[in-house]
C-alpha cells in the first residue's frame, strides 16, 4: 500500500528524496504500480510528473527520449522511428498508451513489455540522473534504482523489426520478438540482435538465433525450427503447445529479419 506520495519539482529534489528514503520508488505513469495484477508492494513513491522529463529530441546522432514520455507521444512524434512506434502500439489501448511512460516501462514492466526488446535491439542507452549512460542490457542486469532521465536510441544503419503473437487485438501477448541487424556490402547479416518475450519472466536475448542469422544472406526456417525446438524455455502451457510456439517463433523471427533486410535494401 502506498503510504507517501512525494511530488518533487526538480530532478535534484527527486534524487534527494530517494536518498533520504532509500526504500522509496520512483513513480512514473502508474500503469504498472496501480494495475490489479501488480504483485510488488510500494510504500513510498516519488512522482516524476513535474520534472519535465517528457521531451523528444535528436542530439548528436541519437534520439533522446525523456523518461516520462508516454507511449502515445512516441506514436505521435515525427522524430521517433517506426519500429519504436510499433513497439508502443503493442499496448493496444490508447488510454493506457497515454499513461504508460518509456521510463516506467523500463523500470517495472519487464514481463509484457514489447518496448524493452525493441530498445535493446536498437542498442539503446539509458541516461541516469547520476549523469551516467548505461547500455540498456547493462542497465537491466544492474537492477539499478537510479532515476532514469532519458532513453537514447542511436541513429545508425541498423534496421529493426518487432512482431508479436497474440489472438486478438487486446489479448495478452503470447510471444514477441525484436530483431535488429545490419547488412554488409555483399548483403550478409551482421551483428544481429534477437530479443524475445514469453520465454521467461523478463525479455531474453536469443544468442543461438542470432548465430543462425549471422553472416548469411538467406535464412532457412527449418534451422530456426530446430533451434527453437531445443530451447527449454519454450514449453506447453494452457494457451498453446510447445510445437506451436516453436513453429511460430521460427517464422516470426525470420519474418522480422526479412523485414529488416527489406528496409536496409
Amino acid at each position: 500500500m502506498i503510504r507517501s506520495y512525494k511530488q518533487p519539482q526538480t530532478i535534484e529534489e527527486a534524487v534527494a528524496l530517494k536518498k533520504e528514503q532509500p526504500d522509496a520508488d520512483y513513480f512514473a505513469g502508474g500503469t504498472c504500480i496501480n494495475h490489479a495484477d501488480c504483485t510488488q508492494t510500494y510504500t513510498h513513491v516519488i512522482s516524476l510528473d513535474k520534472l519535465g522529463l517528457d521531451s523528444i529530441e535528436i542530439v548528436d546522432g541519437v534520439v533522446r527520449i525523456g523518461s516520462m514520455t508516454t507511449f502515445q507521444n512516441l506514436v505521435d512524434s515525427p522524430l521517433i522511428m517506426p519500429v519504436v512506434k510499433d513497439a508502443a502500439r503493442a499496448i493496444y489501448s490508447r488510454n493506457v498508451r497515454n499513461m504508460a511512460t518509456i521510463g516506467g516501462n523500463l523500470a517495472s514492466c519487464w514481463t509484457h513489455s514489447a518496448m524493452i526488446p525493441a530498445l535493446t535491439a536498437l542498442k539503446s542507452v539509458i541516461e541516469l540522473s547520476t549523469k551516467e549512460d548505461l547500455p540498456i542490457e547493462e542497465f537491466l542486469d544492474s537492477q539499478s534504482e537510479a532515476l532514469i532521465t532519458a532513453v537514447k536510441i542511436p541513429l545508425s544503419n541498423r534496421a529493426c523489426s518487432v512482431k508479436r503473437v497474440r489472438r486478438s487485438s487486446g489479448s495478452k501477448t503470447l510471444l514477441s520478438f525484436a530483431v535488429s541487424l545490419e547488412l554488409s556490402e555483399d548483403g550478409m547479416c551482421i551483428d544481429p540482435i534477437v530479443i524475445a518475450t514469453g520465454f521467461a519472466e523478463v525479455p531474453v536475448r536469443l544468442s543461438e538465433i542470432e548465430t543462425l542469422l549471422t553472416k548469411r544472406k538467406e535464412h532457412s526456417v527449418f534451422e530456426f525450427d530446430l533451434a527453437f525446438r531445443a530451447m527449454k524455455e519454450l514449453s506447453t502451457d494452457e494457451h498453446s503447445s510447445k510445437a506451436y510456439k516453436t513453429y511460430i517463433s521460427a517464422r516470426t523471427v525470420v519474418a522480422c529479419a526479412e523485414q529488416c533486410k527489406e528496409v536496409l535494401a
Partner: protein, 958 residues
Amino acid sequence: MKVNFTLNDVPRTEAVSVNENLQEMLQRIGMISVRDSDNHRGFVGSDTILFDGVPVNAGLMIAAQINGHSITTAEALSTIERPLSPVQSAMIDAGVVQSGYNAPAAALLITELLARKADPSKAEIKEALSSLYNRATGYEQFFTAVELAKKRIIDEKATMKVSDEFRDDLKYVGKAHRKVDGAKLVRGDRAFVEDMVLPGSYILKMLHSPHASAYIMNIDTTEAEALPGVRLVLTYKNVPDNYYTPAGQGFPEPSPWDRRMFSQKVNHVGDRVAAVVADTEAIALTALERIKVEYEVLKPVFTIEEAEAEGSPIVHNSVVSYVVGAPDDLEEKNKNADPRDGRIEIQFPIGADPHANKAASVSGSIGDVEKGFAEADTVIERTYETAQFQCTPCETHIVYTKMDGDRLVIHASTQVPFFVRRIVSKIIGIDENKIRVIKERVGGGYGSKQEVLLEDVCAYATWITKKPVLFHFTREEEYTNSVSRFPMKITVKIGAKKDGTFTAMYMDLKANNGPYGNHCLTVPMNGCSKSLPLYLSDNIAFDVNVFYSNIMPTGAYQGYGAPKANFALHMAIAELSEKLGIDMLEVVEKNRVDEGDTLEILRCLGEGREGTPATIKSCGLAASVSEGAKMIEWGKKEESSDIDIKIGKGMALIQQGSGLPGLDISNADVKMLNDGSVIIHSGGADLGTGLDTISVKMTAEILNMDPERITILSGDTDQTPFDTGAFASSGTFFSGGAVNNAAEELKKKILKTASEMIGEPVEDLNLQFPEKVNGLKGSVTFREIAQATHGGESEGQLIGSASFTCDDASFPYGAHFAQVAVDRRTGEVKVQKYYALQDCGTPINPELAEGQIYGAVMKSIGHTLYEEVKLSPEGKNLTTDLESYGAPLIGDIPEDFKVKLVETTDPYGPFGSKSVSEIAMNGAAPAIANAIHDALGIWIRELPITPEKILRALGKIK
C-alpha cells in the same frame, strides 16, 4: 493528503488517502459516470477520464496523481439541466447506447477525438476507441455516431440516415427513434444498482473454494466474527436449509433444485464457502482471511468422458426427490447418498440421474431415421466440439438489498425481477408480498442475469441484519462464479440423395453442465430445437445427454443452445455438400424451410413438457439467402496478392424463437394522466436492448400521440404487473405484446369516453395526431378526456390493462455470410467481410435491432476465433480477466461489416414483430469455419478456431 486539481473546469481541493484509487475517489465525490468494469485493469475503459485533456483510465491511477492537474469526466459534457452534447445525442441516435454502462466513457473518447481531429478517418476512430470494450452493440455503429456528431458540432439539428426504415404506414414503429433511457445512460446519471448504494451500507464478500470438489470438514469463523466491523458470517451451518435453482425460469422449473445458499460440499474452484458482511470491504476481506477451513479434497471430473465413465466420482451424491414422476429405482439409488452432498429436488422428470452424473437427458424423433439413412446415397457423420465462453457484461453481477419497514427491497441488475422475488422468497422463507425487486438499468446481461447468483445471500444478509448490504462481483468472480456457455460435443449425421435432398438427420448432443443444473435440460435441448427445424426431412432424431462436472458453472447465455448446435449442423451440411460435390448453398436451398412449412420435429422439443408442431407463418430466409449471396458474391473465388494468404467464403442459416409459447406471460397497464399524457407500467425487463422504447413507440402509434408525452416504468415488482422476464427472445414479442394490448384497451376507453363527451357513436370516432378524438360533428382532446375522468363524477382514471400470452410460435430467421483471409504461414484468420441478413418481422427499433446484431455477431466472432475459458488441471480458471480471456475489441471487427434487416410481417407479434437479438449469435461460427475450409480445404471441428489448430490441420505442426 490534499490534492488541488480542476474538475470539469472548476478548481477543487479534496482530501484523499495517498493510496486511494482515482476511479473510486471520483465516484466518492459524485462523478458516478467513472465506472469500474475490470477491477482497475484498463481493458474495458468504463473508467475513462480526460487528464489534462488526454483520455486515460482513472482506475490505473491513484488520486494523488491528479494534484496540479485538470480532470474532465463525462459529467462535463452535459447535465440534466443542459442539453445533450452533439456527441452524446449522436451516440444515442446511432444506436450505440444500449446497456450503456460505458456509454459516458465512449462519449468522452469521441469528444476528445473530434476536438483533436475534426474529420477523423476510420483508422483514427478505431484508435480512439481502442480503449473501449463494448459487448452490447459491438463497434460498427460508432462510425455512424462519429459521422453524425461531426455534423451536429456544426449544426446541432443535423440528421442523417442511421438505419433502414420500415412500415411506411406507421409514424414511429419501424423508424429510428431516440432510445427513451438513452440520455440518462450517456450522461452517466444514476441508473445502475451501484448508483443506489447509501453511505454506511454493509459490504458482502465471499470466501471461495480453492478446490474443484471437496467436503468442508471443519470451518472456524471465530476469528472473523471477532474482527471489529464484522456484522455477519454465513456458512452452510447457519443458513436456511432450502434448495433451489438459480435459473430464472417459469415455475415449476425444468432445472433441478441442486443448490443451497451454502453447502458442505464444494463443487468447483470458486464455489461458495462462506460470506462475510462487514462495515467496509477492507474489513470483510480481512475477515475472509481469518476463516479457517479444513477440506477433504475429492477427485474432480472435468470432461464429458470423465463424467459419464462408469465408476467416476459423483458430483452430486445427494438424496434425490421428485415432486412428480419419480423413477421406480429412486429409493435404491438414494441408498448410497452421502448426507454431506445434501439434496436434489426435481420438479418433474427431465431424464436426470445425478448418481450417474447425468443432470438431464431427452430423446426424440419423427419418421424413421434408420430407414432414412438406408435410403440415402451419401451419409456423413461428424463430431464437433465447442468450448466454454463467458458473457462478460461490462457491469459485473451486482445486488443491493435494504429494508423498507418490514419489507425487503432488492435493487437488482436482473433479467427476471419477478423470478428473483419468487426464488428469494423461497430461499429465505418469507412471503413474496414482503419483497420488492427493482430492476435498475442493466449494464449487460446476455443471459447471465437470468440467474439468481447473488440476490439470495445478499437479501438474507439484509433480512438478518436489517441493514443495507451490497454484493458486487469482481471481474474475477464474474469468471469463476457467474454462468457461461456449456461446452458441448455434438455428433451430426445426415443422409442425402445424390441431388442433395436430405433423407434423414440425427443429432447426438452431449453437454458438460458443470457443477449445478441451472438450464441443464433447456440449453442443450434448445440446441436441437433451434437448429434442426431449419431443414425439412421426414426422418429426424436427436439424443441429448447432459453431465454434471466440476468445471466453472454454466447456464444461460444469449443464443442459449443454438450457437453450438447450429455450428455443428452447418459444418456437417458443408461437409456433406463437399462429399456430394454440390455447392453448399444449393444444398441449403434445396432443404431449408419456408413460409407455410410445418415443423413436425417440434412435437418432441417442448421445454420440459410435450411440444407441439408449428407452422411457419413468416419467413425471410429466401430474401436473406439471395441478398446475402449477392452481397458476398457467392461462388466467386477471391485471390490475394500474397500467395500464402488464402481467401474463402462461408455461410449459415439461423433461427431462434420469440419467447416461449404457452409458457411465457407478460402484463402491462397503460394509464392516462391528468393532462392527457400517458404512463406505461410494464413488467418487462429492459436489459438495455430498447424494450422500454419499443413499448413507448407502440403506445404512441396506437394512441396517435407524441412519444415524448409517454413515460414508462418497468421491471419493478411493486409498481408493475407480472412478467416472466427478458429471456428466450421474449422482450418485443411478449412484454411488447402486453403493452400493445394494454394500449389498445386504453384506446377503447378513450373512444368510449369521447363518445359520451361529444355525443357521437364510437364507430364515428377516430384518433387524430396529436391526442385528439374527432367525430363527425365535434372533437375532444386527450387533456379534456383526462380531466373529465379524474373528477369525482367520472367512472375513474382511464387505464388499459392487458396481458399477452401466445400458443403460436414466431420464428425469426436469417442468413449470415463471411469472407475470411487465412495466412497459411501463421494460421491467422482475418474476417474480411461479414454480412448478417435477418428477418425479425417488423423491426420496431431498427437502429437498436442492428446494434444488437452487430454486438451478437462480435460476441460470436470472439467465441469462434479468440475467446476461451481455460482451466488448470486442478480446475482453477486461468482466464479471469478480459485480456487473458481474449475478449474482442474494435481492432477485431470485420473489415466490411453489414447488417441488413429483411422485412416480413408476423401475424402473432405486435405490429408484426419477432425477436432479433439472440438469433444473431448463431451464424458466425459455422460461417467462419466453412469459410476457412473454402480458403484452405481443412475442416476445423472444434471452437475456438485458433491459429494453432489451423496449423495442425494443415500438417505444419504435430
